[in-house]
Symmetry: C2
Subunit: 314 residues, 2 copies
């Protein structure tokens, strides 16, 4: 079994987790409610009172012998959680473990409404309904293959472990699209609690991380953005730098092509602003076949090595 | 900061996570939908296709020098996630770390619709709406103090870190009350994947764990049930045993008194069936002051020691 095998022991100085950020909501004027918890237990409860919403959850690990001066905070993409950075769908070590083994203290966030952060079940607080992602949409959005190739005929040379597509789909969680501001606020709260750090972010997490970095020029020293879907160029040229990483098959459909153009334009905008940055297009760097899920692809280990080197080179 | 301090290094042989169980849902006949992901990105998507729902998430850690033959799987209570077993609200090590340090491989589940398992956002699959827990209700349900004492006048000798009540409330997540069967199924899937193990469960997780244990007599050797809210006595007297642990203030209100009576009756039913079991009422054992959140209370470390000793004494 995959949970049995590992290369060598990993010695931690400490591990833990915390919830951070959010705001208080007071509900009043509602009638009592009755519900059955279990076949054994029915309760009547008062829904009026104090709730905390829009907090984030952060799990963290510190290696016994850190090589990096600052921790990394890993920020998941949309419809996903911090589990994206753990074991890959085909059972390899994810970036949480890879960066720990490379001597980085690692913090992993579940942002507002995802995973262990929880979501707001009170009516009227968030706009709209959560949306679910199906496997077909993931196939297209994450550039696994041509639409007609779903579920087992990917692009030639595809590095994503396509045989484990169903396992990967089990990690999808619903998302709202109205919670961006709350997610930026909770990410900022997490950053300020942790202190000086580097961000590694993916997809929708890229927008959140770049906006948070712009709000935290004293804390966020570097942002590694794996195919960000949104941007802030308002970084501090004197203190902050950015690495943008793009996979392969970048122009495989009009949506992908438009996204690619925006990512390249973002790198240009940083350069124009004087922010030190690099744009890594993996195919052009001799590593064809990467999907949107760069941290899960075969070859994610080599990319983690390169990213770690870039972070340590500051 | 709490995430800086720890007694001594913790050496792991391996760590990771997986999603397990669940079932496939195929949606058809729905019109295309358009949504704005971010200010930069609007997409039109097809909601028809394949979804996986009702899976569980499991994170696991193996110590480099295991002292226990079998791992423990930690099963959270209702309206909570696996984070219940991590850092306590006041920053002490939780049972995940305490059992790892005592030489147990530790697996932590986020069951169906909680945490990183994700919930089902497709209409018509689950009955009812998720319910949220407010701080007042937690105060009463978890026996922190008399109703009139909320939020800062607990029962005398209360061991729960009351000053961190607001921090604790950030870990509450919504729950459905219609998903029990799916949660038992996913827990059984997790148990069968892991293999022979002991379960440590809390509150609503107690019902799920005891029902799963009844379905898995070959895999589940022991169940440690911290104030379970539901039961199965259908365990195998030849192979399985149970430790039921109750806190203090057990008869503080009629709801608590009824719950206490059910927990004592459960222990009696096990004994009548010939299932080896112990009932620990913490106040009667000289450790007054425990709340419903036994694994977070001051003194949870001593209780973890006693539970570890009981598990190793088989």
């Amino acid at each position: 079994m995959s949970e049995q095998s590992t290369p060598s022991p990993l010695t931690l100085a400490a591990m833990g987790s915390f919830h951070v950020g959010g705001r208080d909501i007071v509900v009043s004027g509602e009638p009592l409610r009755t519900t059955a918890f279990t076949p054994h237990t029915t309760v009547t409860y008062d829904p009026n009172g104090h709730y905390t919403v829009e907090q984030a959850y952060v799990q963290w690990f510190r290696p016994a012998r850190p090589l990096a001066e600052r921790p990394v905070l890993l920020v998941h993409g949309g419809g996903l959680t911090g589990a994206s950075w753990e074991t890959t769908p085909d059972g390899r070590a994810g970036w949480l473990e890879l960066f720990l083994r490379r001597g980085f203290p690692v913090f992993v966030i579940d942002n507002v409404e995802r995973g262990r952060a929880g979501f707001c079940a009170l009516p009227g607080i968030w706009e709209g309904q959560p949306m679910a992602r199906n496997a077909e949409w993931a196939w297209e959005l994450f550039r696994f293959g041509p639409q007609a190739g779903y579920p087992d005929r990917p692009f030639p040379g595809q590095r994503f472990p396509i045989a484990q597509l169903a396992q990967f789909a089990r990690s999808f969680v619903p998302r709202w699209t109205s919670t961006n501001e709350a997610q930026v606020a909770a990410l900022v709260a997490a950053i300020r609690r942790i202190g000086p750090l580097d961000l590694i972010c993916h997809s929708h997490g890229g927008e959140l991380a770049l906006r948070a970095a712009a709000l935290c020029p004293a804390e966020v020293r570097a942002v590694v953005a794996l195919e960000p879907s949104g941007y802030s160029e308002a970084l501090d040229p004197a203190r902050q730098r950015v690495l943008t990483v793009l996979g392969d098959f970048l122009d495989c459909d009009p949506y992908a092509a438009a996204r690619t153009a925006r990512m390249r334009a973002f790198a240009d905008a940083l350069t124009a602003r004087g922010v030190r940055n690099e744009l890594w297009e993996m195919a052009a760097r001799g590593r064809a076949g990467h999907s949107h899920m760069l941290m899960m692809d075969h070859g994610s280990e080599a990319l983690a090595d390169d990213v770690a080197t870039w972070l340590l080179s500051a």
